[in-house]
């Protein structure tokens, strides 16, 4: 069971990293969401899958059989809620960004950067930035 969970986490992290490194900003956010899911699984596994040790046992109580540690589950719930909020925020941000910039290419998103044709500090060579500046249809 632990091996299956470890393999799942491995696959999720791999897919997440692959997508997060994409130039397509939408894929990038989906990749981060996948990485978040992998992080939640790690957190979940931290409590052991079948633990003999519940986090809190009142004095004199008998240990339940097959009881899992409830604390990591509470942590995962918190992390899921926070992660969900962040993913929602980032999707709305992306929609607005893609609509205003009319591109989903991370390399073309240079609006917060200094202009490449800045006279005092020109880029090393014009070929270094294949992004036309200013982008033709800057809405």
């Amino acid at each position: 069971m632990t091996a299956v969970l470890a393999a799942t986490i491995f696959a999720t992290v791999t897919a997440g990293v692959y997508l997060a490194m994409s130039r397509d900003v939408f894929r990038c956010v989906i990749g981060l969401a996948l990485l978040g899911a992998a992080a939640n699984l790690v957190l979940f596994a931290a409590g052991r899958l079948v633990s003999p040790l519940p986090a809190v046992v009142p004095v004199g109580e008998i240990l339940l059989t097959d009881a899992a540690n409830p604390l990591p589950q509470a942590l995962v719930l918190t992390a899921i809620v926070i992660g969900f909020a962040l993913v929602c925020y980032s999707l709305v941000l992306l929609l607005r960004l893609m609509r205003d910039a009319r591109t989903d290419d991370a390399l073309a998103l240079r609006y917060a950067e200094p202009r490449p044709d800045d006279p005092v500090k020109p880029p090393a060579s014009a070929a270094d930035c294949d992004v036309a500046w200013p982008p033709e249809d800057r809405a």
Partner: protein
């Protein structure tokens, strides 16, 4: 006492709610916001007062005693940082009343600013690793809101970069917390400190590396600082000053709490790596600052550079290193926020942040030129200003430990810092304005901005001329860490 210990979170959160309710009446919202900031400040002073007489405010919520319940514990370090947080909040709100690059007034601006304060206050107060993660997230989401409410394309772009890199740090932190819990079965700082010596050296190194990696992204240290200079300059000035002062310092505080307190003494290899990361942070930050001509970008790169100095103090460890960390952090927050605010006043008077397009301000406003020199030279570390004492503490400890390479690098970085501060002063104040027909704006509303920046400069001068009290406080704080 248990009510006061929650004040760093409860007061800003209550202000968030009240300012949101008052969002349709701007005047009322502003009054509520000021009152909230002042109550926060008063609570923070009370917290420092009780921490300074060795009665740190602490409580475990919901009657679950530590290590089961979530605990808030404000020792000297936490209380001092909460106080400086409250102070920065009040100063930024004061500056917001001026017309110096305050940005268009959005009804959600003030609630989000108080949300950031709640996140920072919570992070400095909590004694629970997972709770620390939650406060980091509160900060992150409020910060993202502040980036995006302007709605300009460059702000959305900056917001995206800030989001992606910080989210990566957050996820790393979550995984690290899972690993720490899996290895020790604890999240409470006190319980972790007791469990830490039982860990094998290899495991303890791995856990600390994972935690530090996450915190270092949040702190903006080499090589993971790219989000900071890529985004900060798109913010309105008062918010920018608040971010510059506080957000990265929460990451530094988390590093200090981890290696200097909970897991102290940390494995040598971790501290050695942290020291070299700090050295690289100093160097690359200041090189970026030397390259740029936009005042906000220059100052943003200097945040990175100064984070390197503070991390160097953390890496030197021991009582002297930890005392230097606290002293440096307090000095740096005041000075850095002040520099950004003065840059905004320069923008108001000249119309640009670009040093190549402005000039001649000394003839127009000699007082502003002198005011700028106080935080600028303090950042460099010119005696007798506060930065000198801070750097002296770090360098003394570095030399005492035989870390000559780090000390030499720190001195070289200080020279480059001096270069870029003098660059700002020469270009903005001393040289003639490039456009001969340039006229200063006729009517400005800079009185609140003057009050805010003069107040911070006065505080810097007080620390400069009477460093003993802060020094004694920092040394007493360092003695309580790690034990």
């Amino acid at each position: 006492m248990s009510a006061l210990v929650a004040a760093p979170v409860l007061v800003p959160l209550a202000t968030v709610v009240l300012t949101t309710l008052a969002s349709r009446r701007p005047t009322l919202q502003q009054v509520v916001s000021f009152v909230g900031a002042l109550i926060f400040l008063a609570c923070a002073v009370a917290l420092v007062a009780s921490a300074a007489i060795d009665q740190p405010a602490r409580t475990a919520f919901g009657s679950w005693v530590a290590p089961y319940g979530i605990e808030f514990h404000l020792d000297r370090v936490g209380a001092a940082l909460v106080l400086i947080t409250a102070l920065m909040g009040a100063v930024s709100l004061l500056f917001l009343a001026s017309d110096a690059d305050a940005g268009p007034r959005h009804p959600l601006l003030l609630p989000l600013v108080h949300g950031v304060l709640a996140g920072v206050g919570g992070a400095f107060s909590t004694a629970d690793l997972f709770n620390l993660y939650v406060w980091f997230e509160v900060m992150l989401i409020c910060a993202l809101g502040l980036f995006a409410i302007g709605g300009r394309l460059d702000q959305l772009d900056a917001s995206f970069k800030y989001l992606v890199l910080n989210l990566l740090g957050t996820l790393l932190l979550l995984i690290a917390i899972g690993a720490v819990y899996g290895a020790t079965g604890h999240l409470n700082f006190g319980a972790l400190a007791e469990a830490a010596p039982a860990l094998s050296p290899g495991l303890s190194t791995a856990l600390l590396t994972a935690l530090l990696l996450a915190f270092l992204i949040k702190a903006g240290s080499f090589p993971l600082y790219a989000w900071l200079p890529a985004s900060y300059h798109t913010l309105p000035a008062p918010v920018l000053a608040l971010f510059a002062g506080l957000l990265t310092k929460v990451g530094v505080y988390a590093v200090l709490r981890t290696v200097g307190d909970v897991f102290a003494p940390a494995p040598d290899v971790v501290m050695e790596a942290l020291g070299w990361i700090a050295a690289a942070t100093m160097l690359f930050g200041v090189l970026g600052a030397a390259y740029h001509w936009d005042m906000r970008r220059i100052l943003a790169f200097h945040i990175v550079s100064q984070i390197g100095f503070i991390l160097l103090a953390v890496a030197l460890a021991g009582e002297a290193g930890n005392a230097a960390t606290l002293f440096y952090t307090v000095h740096h927050i005041i000075v850095k926020a002040n520099l950004f605010l003065i840059a905004a006043m320069i923008w108001r008077l000249t119309g640009s942040y670009d040093l190549r397009r402005i000039g001649g301000l000394y003839r127009l406003r000699p007082a502003l030129g002198l005011l700028f020199l106080v935080p600028a030279l303090s950042l460099v570390g010119i005696p007798p200003l506060s930065g000198f004492w801070a750097k002296l503490m770090v360098l003394q400890e570095a030399l005492a430990q035989g870390r000559y390479a780090w000390a030499a690098l720190a001195l070289a970085v200080s020279v480059l810092t001096l270069y870029s501060m003098v660059k700002i002063w020469m270009e903005a104040f001393w040289k003639r304005h490039p456009d001969d027909r340039w006229q200063p704006p006729a009517a400005t509303r800079l009185a609140p901005a003057w009050a805010a920046t003069l107040g911070l400069a006065a505080l810097t001068l007080v620390i400069s001329l009477y460093p003993q009290w802060l020094l004694a406080y920092a040394q007493a704080a360092a003695r309580t860490l790690g034990g």
